[in-house]
Structure formats: C-alpha cells, structure tokens
C-alpha cells in the first residue's frame, strides 16, 4: 500500500493528519534504530536556503547523505539569480525542481513554501518560511516527545518564553491539538500566545492555562518547551527586569516530575543555565540530534511509495 506521504508537499504542520504525524514519528524511530543507506539511492535533493540556517540545513543534508542520496543547492540566497537578476521564486522553483527529486527550502518570506509547492513538479519540503511555519522542527519535536515519554497522547506540555512570535511553539501546539494535550503558557505580557491560536485550541477542545512562574509548572508538566525571549523586542531595562523571570535554572527543577523533559529548538542563549544540562530533565541536545532522524523519515516517506 502506498504510504500517504508519498509525493506529498510538506508545507505546514496543519496539512498533516494525526496518522501522518504518527507515521513520520514511527519511521524516525525505526531509522534511528536501524539506519538505511538505500532509501534515497539515486535521488538528487535540492537544498535551497534563501536564508541562512545552521541546524536545519546541516541536518537535512546529513539526512540525505545517510539515506544514500545526493544534494545540490545553496546555503545563502544572496548569490542566486533571484537576488542578482531579479528572477521570481516561482521561476527558480520550476527550474530547480526539474533537476531534482525533492525540493527542500528555507525562505525569509512567509508563504514562500506554499507558493513553491504550486510551481514545483517534485515534493517541496518547507524548512522555514519567514515567521510562518517550520514543520520539520515540529516533527523532530514530536519525535523527541514520543521518544522521551513513550506516547504523544494526553501529555501536559508547558511552553515558556516568546509565545507570540515563536513559530516553533505555534506549530508544535497546533500539532499536539491532535493528541489531546493540555497546555500551560509562561510568557512576558507582551509575548503571550496570540488570540487566533487560543481560539483554535478552544475549538479543538484543548485545556490551557497561563502560569506566572516555573514553580507552577514543573511539578505537573511532562514536557517543558523553552524558547528565547529576544532582547531586541524590549528596551534594555525592561529586558533585564523581564528576562530574569524566564531563565530556567536547576533550582527550578527540584520538584519536577521524574519524566519531565526540557526541550528547546536551539540556539540557546541564556534562557537555560548550563547547570540544567547536567540534570536528567535536559533533552535539547538529543532533540537536536533527532532532527536528522525526523528529516530522514520525512524524505524517505515522501520519496518512497513504501518502506
């Protein structure tokens, strides 16, 4: 039977059904345990990063090579015909797609991946479009949650930091709506979860609440998803006042549930102190490693009728 993701564009996490998310997670788990170097044999993948990226690009390119494929592309859009000659993205996509079997892209503008999917003859995989979506980050987050908790269902997930602009937070919360999660939000007043998402959670029947401190969270959360409160969003004194409330230290974890795992999309600046790294709750480096397996799973499913 053809897997449901075969030849499918992966643009937004909300395009994926619960079954498709579970298939990606279970495939990632299999590929982590038993590597396969044949799944992209003879395939050429475009890796087009119109905006710089470290982890996403390198983990995609690692995933392609581990599965036996090769990639072409660029790590910075500055030297492309778009930037130099004013070519439209639509034209670039049509040309690059004709050389390759799949098109992995990151772009600084929102909607770029959806547009690319309309013009591409091969599957487009969104590696981030402006502040909009970053579905493969969500897939590796889901895989890390599954790996550390043994389930995706009915978990208590706390989100902390910049919940207003953080696309990773938005996408993960949207995906977890399909698994009956319960949310707690800890954020500065200026960076709370947007209303349109709160409406979505209500419609999905998801319970959520707002918290004021880590102490309110750690004793009941299964997952604490940390993000960075960006300095540039505040003036300096305001930032100093606010940021200290959202820095996680090992002292905050004294009452933590044993199965609590802390995730972070990285890069970390100072929102998780390094002493947390030595606690059993820290899971962000395993999470980053899982980026390779989640992307391997996605590429393998999109390019193979069955695995």
């Amino acid at each position: 039977m053809t897997n449901p993701l075969y030849k499918k564009h992966i643009v937004s996490i909300t395009d994926l059904t619960r079954e498709e998310l579970e298939l990606i997670v279970s495939t990632a788990e299999k590929l982590k345990k038993s590597p396969r170097s044949d799944l992209l044999q003879g395939k050429v993948i475009a890796s087009c990063f119109f905006e710089a990226s470290t982890r996403t690009r390198l983990s995609f390119e690692t995933a392609v090579q581990r599965l036996g494929g090769t990639f072409i592309g660029f790590a910075d859009g500055g030297n492309t015909s778009l930037a130099k000659k004013g070519e439209t993205l639509a034209d670039s996509v049509q040309v690059i797609a004709s050389y390759t079997d799949a098109f992995v892209m990151r772009h600084p503008q929102e909607g770029a991946a959806r547009l690319a999917a309309e013009f591409s003859t091969v599957p487009v995989i969104n590696g981030g479009d402006g502040s909009n979506q970053h579905p493969t980050q969500t897939l590796l987050d889901l895989f890390s949650i599954y790996e550390s908790q043994g389930t995706l269902d009915g978990l208590k997930v706390a989100f902390c930091g910049d919940l207003k602009y953080g696309r990773t937070v938005h996408s993960l919360a949207q995906a977890l709506c399909q698994f009956g999660a319960e949310f707690t939000f800890l954020a500065p007043d200026a960076l709370t979860m947007p209303d349109f998402l709160l409406h979505d959670f209500e419609e999905a029947g998801i319970k959520f609440r707002h918290a004021d401190s880590f102490e309110e969270i750690v004793h009941e959360a299964d997952i604490l998803y940390m993000t960075r409160v960006q300095k540039e969003r505040f003036d300096e004194t305001e930032y100093k006042h606010i940021a200290s409330r959202f820095i996680l230290t090992s002292e905050h974890l004294l009452e933590a549930k044993p199965n609590l795992r802390i995730l972070h999309p990285l890069p970390r600046v100072d929102e998780i102190t390094v002493d947390v790294d030595r606690t059993p709750y820290a899971y962000y480096f395993q999470q980053a490693e899982n980026g390779v397996y989640a992307r391997e799973a996605l590429l393998a499913l999109v390019l193979n009728e069955s695995i």
Partner: protein
C-alpha cells in the same frame, strides 16, 4: 382599505438594489466596490427604519448588474443583505448574501512580508465567522486578519 406603501428611496427601472445593509456599512460598500467616482447613477439611503435590523442602509445602482466577485465582496460587509435585480421597475431576481468561504484576487494580503506581494500569484483568503467579526486567513502566509484590516478600512 389598502394601505399605500411609500418607497423610502425612489424606485429604479433597471439595475441592482442592495437592501438590508446594516446601518453604517453602506458607505463601506460604496467605497469597497468602487462605486464612488464612477458615472453610475446611485441612490443611497442611510439609517432608514427596518423591522429586522432596526436601522438599515440601502444602495440602488442604475443600469448595472453585479457580478459574482462583487457579490462575494458584498457578502463580507453585509452578509444579511439582499441583492435585487430590477428590470422594468420589477424585481426579476433576488438573492441573499452569505459570507463567502473563499475570496480570490480581491484584496492584497496585509502582511507586508507575504510572498504574494512579489510573485506572480493571486491573493487567496479563506474566511471564518468569529463572534462579531470575520477572520480572513491568507493561504500563503497563513496569517489571519480581521476583514476590516484586509479591506483597508
């Protein structure tokens, strides 16, 4: 005894009458449909008494029948309005508006960083009624906006 019904706004021979517009929305519709600044003969009534709405606006446009795109835009501003197609002083067709599910190439996306602004594609929104507002979500950048923001009102 038959009570003589007096028209609140003068009748037209041929054209379109948009009735049951919530009071205050009439001027927005005129602006949005770019009916102002044309040489069309338009009769408008604002804040007229209405059994259903309390007060309503009405717009009569002579010698002009609305197309589907205009009707969709209208549905956005006055979903309960009725459009009457008039020929020879009588109503030849009548239909009720409803909020369209989708709207293509009518409005630009308010998100200045949306890819639609510099690529060869038409804007595309899906619409959702939410409390007293209509939320419009761009198919490309996936951002949601109140209809008034999208329409630039």
């Amino acid at each position: 005894m038959v009570e003589k019904k007096k028209l609140q706004v003068e009748a037209i021979s041929t054209g379109t009458v948009i009735d049951h517009i919530p009071a205050g929305q009439g001027i927005k519709i005129l602006r949005q449909l770019q009916l102002l600044g044309t040489d069309l003969r338009i009769t408008v009534g604002f804040n007229l008494p209405s059994k259903e709405l309390g007060m309503k606006d009405i717009i009569k446009v002579e010698n002009r029948l609305f197309d589907e795109a205009e009707a969709s835009e209208l549905g956005l501003f006055a979903p309960k309005a009725t459009i009457n197609v008039i020929e020879d002083y009588s109503v030849r067709g009548k239909f009720k508006m409803s909020v369209p599910e989708q709207l293509e190439s009518v409005f630009e996306c308010p998100n200045s960083n949306c890819i639609t602004h510099n690529e060869p594609v038409q804007s595309f929104f899906t619409l959702k009624q939410r409390e007293n507002d209509i939320q419009m979500k761009c198919k490309y950048c996936e951002k949601s906006f109140s209809k008034d923001i999208v329409a630039g009102l």
